[in-house]
Symmetry: C2
Subunit: 120 residues, 2 copies
DNA sequence: TCAACCAGTATCTTTTTTGTAACCTTCCAC
DNA sequence: GTGGAAGGTTACAAAAAAGATACTGGTTGA
C-alpha cells in the first residue's frame, strides 16, 4: 500500500502529516484576498477604467450598496483598488483598479474562461 | 462627464444599468464552484494522485473532518473529484481528481503563483 | 418645492458557514 | 478487551456573512 502524500508515523506509531497545510497555504491565502463574494466581479468591472460607486452597485445587480461598499473597502485595504474623490460639491467618487489589482486580472480571466467553457 | 459603463435613463428619468450582472456572471459562478473554503486546497492536494480521506484531513491542518467531508461531497456532486472505494473490509477510500477537476488546476496554479509572488 | 442623484451609514434580522465534540462500525494488534 | 486505525455522521454552538430597510446631508434639475 502506498501513501502518495507525506504521512509518517511518529515514535508512538500514530500517523502524522509531515507537512500539513496550516491554513494559509498559497491557494487559501489567495482565495481569501480575491475569493470573497463579489470581489472578483468588482475587480473585473473596473478593468476598463474608473467606475462610480452607484454605477458599480447598479451593475452588480444582486449586490446591495452595503455589500459593494464593504468589499470595496476591503479591497482598498489590500491595495487592489483605489478610491478617488473626483469632485467635491457635487461629490463624485471613482474607483480605479491599481497596478496590483491588474496582476489579478490574469487569473480572473482564466476563471472566467473556465466557467464559460464548462457551462457552469 | 463620461459614464464608462452602460448606464441609461429610463422614461421616468431614473438611472438603470443596461447590462446588470445578475449574480451569476462567469466570475461569480466560477467562484461558487471552486471558491469555497478549502475547495481549492483539496483539489490541489489531489493533483498528484489519489489521496485517502484521513490523509487529506491531516494535510489540511486547519480543516476538520466535517469540513473535508462536506467539501468533498460538494465537489463530487459537480464532478470535480471522484470517490472510490478501494477496499471493503478494512474499508479504504481514495479520492481522485477527475478530468474536469484537472481543467481547474490551471487556474489554481495561477492563483498559487499570484499569492506567492505578491507575498500575501 | 419636490424628486432624484451622489456616496455612502446605521441598524436589525436572517441565513450560511464553521468549528467542537462525540459517536458509529468494522478491523487489527497488543 | 482496550485502544487505535479506517471513513465517516450527527448534534449543537458560535461566528461570520448577507439582506432589508431606513437614513444622512448636500446638490441638481423640473
Amino acid at each position: 500500500m502506498s501513501d502518495a502524500v507525506d504521512i509518517a508515523k511518529d515514535r508512538n506509531g500514530r500517523k502524522r502529516a509531515l507537512a500539513p497545510c496550516l491554513s494559509p497555504c498559497p491557494i487559501e491565502r489567495g482565495m481569501r484576498i480575491i475569493g470573497g463574494k463579489w470581489k472578483g466581479s468588482i475587480l473585473w468591472h473596473l478593468k476598463d477604467g474608473p467606475v462610480r460607486f452607484n454605477d458599480l452597485a447598479r451593475q452588480l445587480g444582486g449586490a446591495s450598496k452595503k455589500m459593494v461598499s464593504q468589499r470595496l473597502r476591503e479591497m482598498e485595504e489590500v491595495g487592489l483598488v483605489k478610491r478617488e474623490v473626483v469632485n467635491m460639491r457635487p461629490i463624485a467618487v471613482a474607483y480605479n483598479i491599481t497596478p496590483f489589482g491588474q496582476t489579478a486580472l490574469k487569473f480572473l480571466n482564466e476563471l472566467r474562461a473556465w466557467s464559460e467553457n464548462h457551462n457552469l
